[in-house]
Symmetry: C2
Subunit: 403 residues, 2 copies
Amino acid sequence: MNRSPWTQARRAARMNPSIIREILKVTEKPGVLSMAGGLPSADTFPVEAIRAACDRVLSTQSKEALQYAASEGLAPLRAWVAEKVAALGIQASPDQVLITSGSQQGLDLVGKLLCDAGAPVAVETPTYLGALQAFSPYEPIFASLASDEEGPLPQAIEALPHDAPGTRFAYLLPNYQNPTGRVMGQARREAVVAAARKAGVPIVEDNPYGDLWFDQAPPQSLSALWPEGSIYLGSFSKVLTPGFRLGYIVAPTELYPKLLQAKQAADLHTPGFNQRVVYEVIKDGFLDQHVPKIRARYKANRDAMAAALREALPPGCEWRTPEGGMFFWIRLPEGLDAMALLPHAVEAGIAYVPGAAFYAHHPDPRTLRLSFVTLTPDLIREGVDKLGRVLHEALAAAEAPTP
Amino acid sequence: MNRSPWTQARRAARMNPSIIREILKVTEKPGVLSMAGGLPSADTFPVEAIRAACDRVLSTQSKEALQYAASEGLAPLRAWVAEKVAALGIQASPDQVLITSGSQQGLDLVGKLLCDAGAPVAVETPTYLGALQAFSPYEPIFASLASDEEGPLPQAIEALPHDAPGTRFAYLLPNYQNPTGRVMGQARREAVVAAARKAGVPIVEDNPYGDLWFDQAPPQSLSALWPEGSIYLGSFSKVLTPGFRLGYIVAPTELYPKLLQAKQAADLHTPGFNQRVVYEVIKDGFLDQHVPKIRARYKANRDAMAAALREALPPGCEWRTPEGGMFFWIRLPEGLDAMALLPHAVEAGIAYVPGAAFYAHHPDPRTLRLSFVTLTPDLIREGVDKLGRVLHEALAAAEAPTP
């Protein structure tokens, strides 16, 4: 009689707790300096501009803002997005713009529309964990693309399976990738897109970090190189606030109607209030002033972390200084395991994310991700010092003769 | 060379444009009195309370409200929901509450977790179109439950397939159902739940309208009768504002972890700002004062529409006066087709939704849905008068000898 009446779908076996999420719970102890989460600095949130925009929206358009709204999104915001991506070289009409509840929802809708059980989806090595989680319930087979410090290798894309069911798409983050921080150069972009066209594998380009460059803007968008073969995902989370959950998809006309239907089935529409407030904040060029301030702050943080890493980390650690975004990606010396070391690190008062979580296959246990945007430069130095001590101790223990 | 590189998932064939949405576009002409949409009256939106709450949230908790947040939802809001449903007889811990981006997202997450291709899902006849849209991409086979003016018949539930893959759940709207406005009496509820237990078919109970009763509160929640066999969906859209997209799931402990993972994959979390603002509005009993005002307004509208229908509709039309909610459900005389008549109605300056959209199988072309909450009583009378003239003319034409 106590048998459960519930039967879960086959896909439920592919829904798993985020390792990052579980780790964040462990690391949220008081006194722990966390470089684990991918949280933008709360000091960058334009509270006063948002407050003024909330007031304006509620004074002048409260009925529209609080009522049900169009699934496509707010028309002027869609037009703003079309202009924004035009500056990246993507020629798209506002009719190709779908406002989403964060770009995570964009990933879910893309998976829903394009993934069949058993059909391959290509991802970078490593790749954004949230994308793996979004696509997984749709039961694709992940193909991990051999990748270097500029991202996936064109020959890996050319070698993707193209017999039925075909590789449904390659999921690529060309700018300051999460987790590695790497950026694809112009030549690599051209080679990757040429390989994808040749292989008949379309591209899902995710660009949450593209505005967070430090010295020079990143090269041309992948979608600009192959508009009819690319879906572009953008977000307001890193340049304004993640707490409004506002992102967007720019899709080929061919795919738009079905994406829209998937959106409507998923949550009817993204909150109209949020869309109107964000549009009020940004419509007169606010981001042109605001984003450079975020860049300057994050660059100073990046510099502080780069200097601290040079001083504190033991020989044998490898990393590259990111040219934008939010993350350093560290590879530990042979014999160290970032997951195994995490409890010691938390004990010592710091936290990071072990890199293993970001691999679709064959995790590299020596990798870890450090965010440089959540803490202040002083705390970054303190945190990295502690990390250095943990690693030095671990190395000494590894090198000590076993008793 | 112009062959598309995109291959859509098999499930995309099950994503179709909402007929209602297409109809609403046609009916959104200036001068058309629309009784088609399911829009709450914008006059009920508590603009000042929301403005004050936005100010409070941005003054006292801006960093938390604008940052990434927990996928489960805001802790005090989850506790509020647990208390709210306790008043309906559902004993649930706040740990069983998942805040969703509107209850439409609740339907999507339920479908994602419980629907397999080819496994039956039972629905009322007719049922909420948005649920059919949410579940369809997960490729269930819909089983339309024989239903009367109190909802589904217990014997129809008992007769559901229980051999593998089994009926995954029965989707039920016991209170002032969309589209029919019907309510399940206490005896029917008990019989339905007993039948479901016997058949081993769990229940997904959707209750967006339960607070909108006019003379007496509806009977006990279905979930209260079978807690471990029920998922309960609620919403703030009808009692506060739909524009914030805020709903909730109360789920058995057994299902909660996977629902949470589905939520996280779908959009990380519902906007923290929206959750905090709504919690600020409601935390001190605001709804106890506010909801009775909505009830009084909607009851007056319901009465206006009931009187107008009695006066204006031709003999042979059938309807019941709803005891709550937002809709009248009309069945036209033999020979009339609500979809075919819609262009004439729009021409005459009014709009409704043909009922055919709400059937999983065998639509009844004589049915239509009228909302009584969007227009004022005067406009309701005017609209129903026009509808009456359209129907009288159509009947006259149908009865005229064919030339």
